[in-house]
C-alpha cells in the first residue's frame, strides 16, 4: 500500500527470560530496559509496593518516582516510559479489560503524566510474564524493541531508514514479525510518528489486528506528550508477540465470580446499548449531539457551547460513515461494548498520502468536537482527514485541536497575522489552513514549529516576541498545568471546572466528568456536594488505571433500573457495576474488596501522584488555577449571546442596579464572583480530600493512607503549613 524506504537493522542486545507465569493476575516482576547502556534486566515488584499501590498506574508512578529526581526533565535519559498492566488486565470474560496504562514525565507539564489506551499490548505483556515494562535511557539511533512472550526473548535492534509514521511503520512490522496471516493477531505494536518528534504533543498508538477486516488497527495514548518522550528516546516501535491467550491466562482465584460479573455486564450491553448510548454503533461520538443540545460543545476556542452547523458532524452522519457490525471493533478480546469504530476506504485529499484510500480509526467524540466544533470546521471529511493524519504522525487530536482553536482566535483578533503564520489564514472554519498546519506541525516546519509547542509555550512567545496582551491570552489560552483542555465547555458547571483544574495531570476528562450531574441535573448544588463528587468520582476513575480496566463499561452502559433503584450521586456511581468490579478483583486476586476499600486503593495512588507533582515543584493551589474562559464569558460577544442568563445571575449577586452598567462592567463583576466561587470550591475539595489549604496532602492523610514512605514524607514535610 505504501512506498517502502531503504532500511538497515542491527541487533544491539538480546535477553532471555522465563516465559510468563501469571498467578492471580500478577507476575510480580518488571522488565527493565536501559537504552543508553543497551541493558535488559528482570526486576522484582517490592511486596510493600504491591500492598500500597495495587498495580497498574500505581506501580508506574511509584517506579517512576524511584527512577527520576526533582530535577529530571522529560527529555533527560533518566526519564522513563513505563507500560503498566494491572491484576484484572486481560480477563476475557468481562468487557474493557485490555487497557495499557502508561506513565512518564511529560514535555507539556514537566511532571508525572498518565495515559490509558486500548489495543492488545498490556495483556500480551502480562501473559509474557511482566507486570510492567520500564524503559529508561536514550538510544543513539532509532531502535525497535521486540518482545517474544512465548520464546522468552527480548531483542533491541537498531533500525534506520524506516519511516516512523504509524500506519506506514506498523504495516511493515507486522509483516516482518508475524509468521503468517493467523499469527498477526498475536502481535501488538506501540508506535508514534514524526509529529511526536517535532512537537510536544506526541502520542503513542497501540495496535491490535482486526482479523475480520484483515487490517491492523490502533488506539491512542493521547495526552501530555508521551509519544514525544518515546521518540526522544529514539524508540521507533515496541513489538510484542504472544500466542495462547485463554479464558484463564490470569490463573485466577475464583472463576465463578468473574463469570457472574461478565454475564451480567454482557446481558446489559447486548440488551440496552442500542437504546442507551449506541457505543456498539458509533462509539463515543454519540456525545456530540448531547453536548450541542445542552450547550457544552466547544465552539470557536470554547467561546460558545453550540453551533447551528453542528448537525453536519452529528451522530447520524457518523452512523452512516462508520462501517457497522464489525467484530474487530473490540480493542481487546471479549469486549462487547466494541466502541473502536472506523471509517473504511476514506480517500485522503492532502499531505504525503494524498490519493490513498485508508481506514480511519475513529473519529471519537473528542476529535470531532475539537476539530469540528472548536476549530469551527463542521465538515466530516475534514474531521476524518485530521484524525487520520494526527494518528499517523503521532499527534494528540485533543492537544492539536485545542491549540489550533486558540491560534484561530488569536488570528481573528490580529494577535497573529499572515506574516507570523507564514501565509496561513487561520480563521475559524478554514479546513485547508488547518490541515496544512497539521502537516507543518508534523514536519516541524513553518508556523507548525510554534504551533507544536502547545498553548502554554505559544502564549509566552506571543507575549515576549509579538507584544500580545498577556492577560487576554491567559484568559483564552485553554491550558492548565501546561496541558490543553479536552473538549467540554465548563462555564456553567463549577464542579467540572474543579474536575479539570484540580486533576493531577491537567485538564483531561478521564479524572472526572460531572457536567450533567452539576449543570443540568443540579444534583450537587452545594460546595460540600460538589466536593464529595470531586472526591469520589476521580478516585473511582483512578481505580480503572491501577487494575487495568477501561472506564466505558462502568457507566456508558447502565442497568435498566439503575436510576429507579438508586438516587442522586448514588445512581451515578452505578452500584451494581461497582459490585461487578469488587467481584472481579476478588475473582482474580482472591482478596475480598468492599466498595470503600476500592476507593482507598485509588486514594493511595491519587495522593502519590499529587505528591509527585509537589516533588517536581508543582502540586499546590496556584497550579490548580484555570483560565477564565473555562469559568465564564471573557468577551462582550460571549456575554451578549447569553445576556439574559448572565444578567439574571448578576441581579442575584450584585448590590447595584445592573441596568446602569455597561457589558464590560457586568463581565468584570461576574468574573469576580465566579473566580471567588472557584476558590471556595478548591477549599471544599482540598478539605474533603484531606489536603491543607494550599492543596498539599497533610501528614495525617499520608499516614492514614499508609503511604508514609520516607521519600514521600520528605516531600510532604517541606510543605507543611
Amino acid at each position: 500500500m505504501f512506498k517502502e524506504n531503504e532500511e538497515s537493522k542491527k541487533i544491539l542486545t538480546s535477553f532471555k527470560f522465563e516465559p510468563g507465569k501469571v498467578e492471580k493476575g500478577y507476575t510480580d516482576r518488571r522488565l527493565y530496559i536501559n537504552l543508553s547502556e543497551n541493558k535488559i534486566k528482570e526486576k522484582p515488584i517490592d511486596p510493600r509496593v504491591k500492598e500500597a499501590f495495587t498495580g497498574g498506574r500505581g506501580y508506574g508512578i511509584w517506579y517512576l518516582w524511584q527512577a527520576v529526581s526533582n530535577r529530571t526533565k522529560w527529555n533527560d535519559p533518566e526519564n522513563e516510559i513505563i507500560f503498566c498492566t494491572g491484576p484484572i488486565c486481560g480477563i476475557t470474560q468481562y468487557s474493557g479489560t485490555g487497557k495499557t496504562h502508561i506513565v512518564s514525565l511529560s514535555p507539556e507539564t514537566a511532571t508525572v503524566n498518565d495515559n490509558n489506551v486500548g489495543g492488545y499490548f498490556a495483556p500480551f505483556l502480562k501473559f509474557s510474564g511482566w507486570d510492567l515494562l520500564e524503559i529508561q535511557g536514550k538510544a543513539k539511533q532509532d531502535v525497535i524493541i521486540f518482545i517474544d512472550g512465548n520464546q522468552g526473548k527480548v531483542i533491541i535492534e537498531e533500525a534506520t531508514g524506516l519511516n516512523s509514521d504509524t500506519y506506514l511503520l506498523i504495516e511493515k512490522l507486522i509483516e516482518r514479525y508475524a509468521d503468517n496471516e493467523k499469527d498477526r493477531r498475536n502481535i501488538s505494536i506501540v508506535s508514534s510518528g514524526k509529529g511526536a518528534e517535532n512537537t510536544n504533543l506526541g502520542i503513542l498508538n497501540v495496535s491490535w489486528y482486526d482479523s475480520r477486516r484483515k487490517h491492523i488497527r490502533v488506539k491512542q495514548a493521547g495526552r501530555g506528550g508521551t509519544g514525544s518522550v518515546f521518540r526522544n528516546k529514539k524508540i521507533l516501535a515496541i513489538v510484542i508477540k504472544y500466542s495462547g491467550v485463554n479464558a484463564n491466562s490470569n490463573n485466577v482465584a475464583n472463576p465463578e465470580l468473574i463469570r457472574k460479573a461478565g454475564q451480567r455486564i454482557t446481558r446489559e450491553i447486548l440488551k440496552l446499548d442500542h437504546i442507551q448510548n449506541g457505543m456498539r454503533e458509533i462509539g463515543t461520538v454519540n456525545l456530540l449531539d448531547h453536548m450541542q443540545n445542552y450547550n457544552c460543545l466547544p465552539v470557536h476556542n470554547f467561546k460558545f457551547g453550540s453551533h447551528p452547523d453542528a448537525f453536519k458532524i452529528d451522530s447520524k452522519v457518523w452512523h452512516q460513515r462508520m462501517t457497522q457490525n464489525q467484530a474487530g471493533d473490540s480493542c481487546w478480546i471479549g469486549c462487547n461494548l466494541r466502541c473502536s469504530h472506523g471509517v473504511d476506504n476514506f480517500e485522503l485529499e492532502t499531505g504525503p498520502l494524498k490519493g490513498e484510500r485508508v481506514l480511519v480509526d475513529g473519529p471519537e467524540y473528542e476529535t470531532t468536537a475539537g476539530f469540528g466544533g472548536n476549530c469551527g470546521c463542521f465538515d466530516p471529511d475534514f474531521v476524518l482527514e485530521a484524525n487520520f493524519y494526527c494518528d499517523n504522525y503521532g499527534l494528540d487530536t485533543i492537544g492539536v485541536s485545542t491549540t489550533m482553536a486558540f491560534l484561530m482566535e488569536c488570528y481573528e483578533n490580529n494577535i497573529i497575522n499572515k506574516e507570523i503564520t507564514e501565509g496561513l489564514e487561520l480563521n475559524f472554519g478554514n479546513t485547508k489552513a488547518a490541515l496544512e498546519l497539521i502537516h507543518q506541525m508534523a514536519e516541524g516546519k513553518g508556523f507548525g514549529k510554534i504551533a507544536g509547542l502547545g498553548v502554554r509555550q505559544i502564549k509566552k512567545i506571543l507575549v515576549e516576541k509579538y507584544g500580545a496582551d498577556e492577560q487576554f491570552l491567559q484568559d483564552i489560552g485553554m491550558e492548565c498545568k501546561g496541558m490543553e483542555f479536552s473538549e467540554y465547555v465548563t462555564k456553567e458547571s463549577l464542579a467540572q471546572q474543579g474536575g479539570y483544574g484540580i486533576a493531577n495531570k491537567g485538564p483531561q476528562h478521564d479524572e472526572s466528568w460531572l457536567i450533567f450531574m452539576d449543570q443540568v441535573n443540579n444534583q450537587i448544588p452545594t460546595f460540600e456536594d460538589k466536593a464529595e463528587a470531586l472526591h469520589y468520582f476521580p478516585l473511582f476513575r483512578t481505580w480503572f488505571s491501577i487494575v487495568g480496566l477501561c472506564k466505558l463499561p462502568w457507566n456508558d452502559i447502565e442497568p435498566e433500573d439503575n436510576k429507579q433503584k438508586y438516587h442522586g450521586i448514588e445512581a451515578a456511581k452505578v452500584p451494581e457495576h461497582v459490585e461487578n468490579y469488587c467481584w472481579l478483583f476478588e475473582g482474580v486476586t482472591g482478596k475480598r474488596l468492599t466498595p470503600e476499600e476500592l476507593i482507598l486503593q485509588s486514594e493511595r495512588v491519587h495522593n502519590l501522584q499529587r505528591l509527585f507533582n509537589l516533588r517536581m515543584g508543582f502540586g499546590t493551589r496556584e497550579y490548580d488555577k484555570i483560565p477564565y474562559r473555562a469559568m465564564g464569558p471573557v468577551t462582550v460577544e460571549e456575554y451578549e449571546l447569553h445576556k439574559e442568563f448572565y444578567d439574571q445571575q448578576l441581579q442575584e449577586i450584585a448590590d447595584f442596579d445592573i441596568k446602569t452598567k455597561t457589558v464590560e462592567e457586568k463581565i468584570k463583576t461576574l468574573r469576580k464572583y465566579r473566580e471567588e466561587q472557584y476558590q471556595k470550591l478548591c477549599d471544599a475539595v482540598y478539605n474533603r480530600r484531606g489536603w491543607d489549604t494550599n492543596g498539599v496532602p497533610t501528614l495525617e492523610t499520608i499516614k492514614r493512607l499508609k503511604i508514609d514512605f520516607p521519600e514521600v514524607l520528605e516531600v510532604v514535610k517541606k510543605y507543611q503549613l
Binding site: 449531539d289 443540545n293 445542552y294 478521564d510 450533567f516
Partner: protein, 65 residues
C-alpha cells in the same frame, strides 16, 4: 412558579411533562422524570399535567467523557 431540578421556572396552564421537556430543550433520550417525587413513565409524558408549585426532577442518565 414550578421547580425544575431545584431551579425556579414559570408555570403555565396546560403544561405537560412532554411540553416542559421541549421548553427546557431536554432532548437526551435517557431521562427519568419525577413530579413531586413520583416517577412518570415515558408513555405518560403527554398526558401528565404539571400543576403550579410542582417540583419536577429530570435526571439525565449521561455518562460523559
Amino acid at each position: 412558579m414550578i421547580k425544575v431540578n431545584g431551579r425556579d421556572r414559570e408555570w403555565e396552564e396546560n403544561l405537560t411533562v412532554d411540553l416542559l421537556l421541549k421548553k427546557c430543550k431536554y432532548s437526551f433520550p435517557l431521562i427519568i422524570v419525577k413530579v413531586n417525587g413520583k416517577y412518570i413513565p415515558k408513555e405518560k409524558y403527554k398526558d401528565t399535567l404539571i400543576k403550579d408549585n410542582d417540583d419536577v426532577q429530570v435526571i439525565h442518565s449521561i455518562a460523559g467523557g
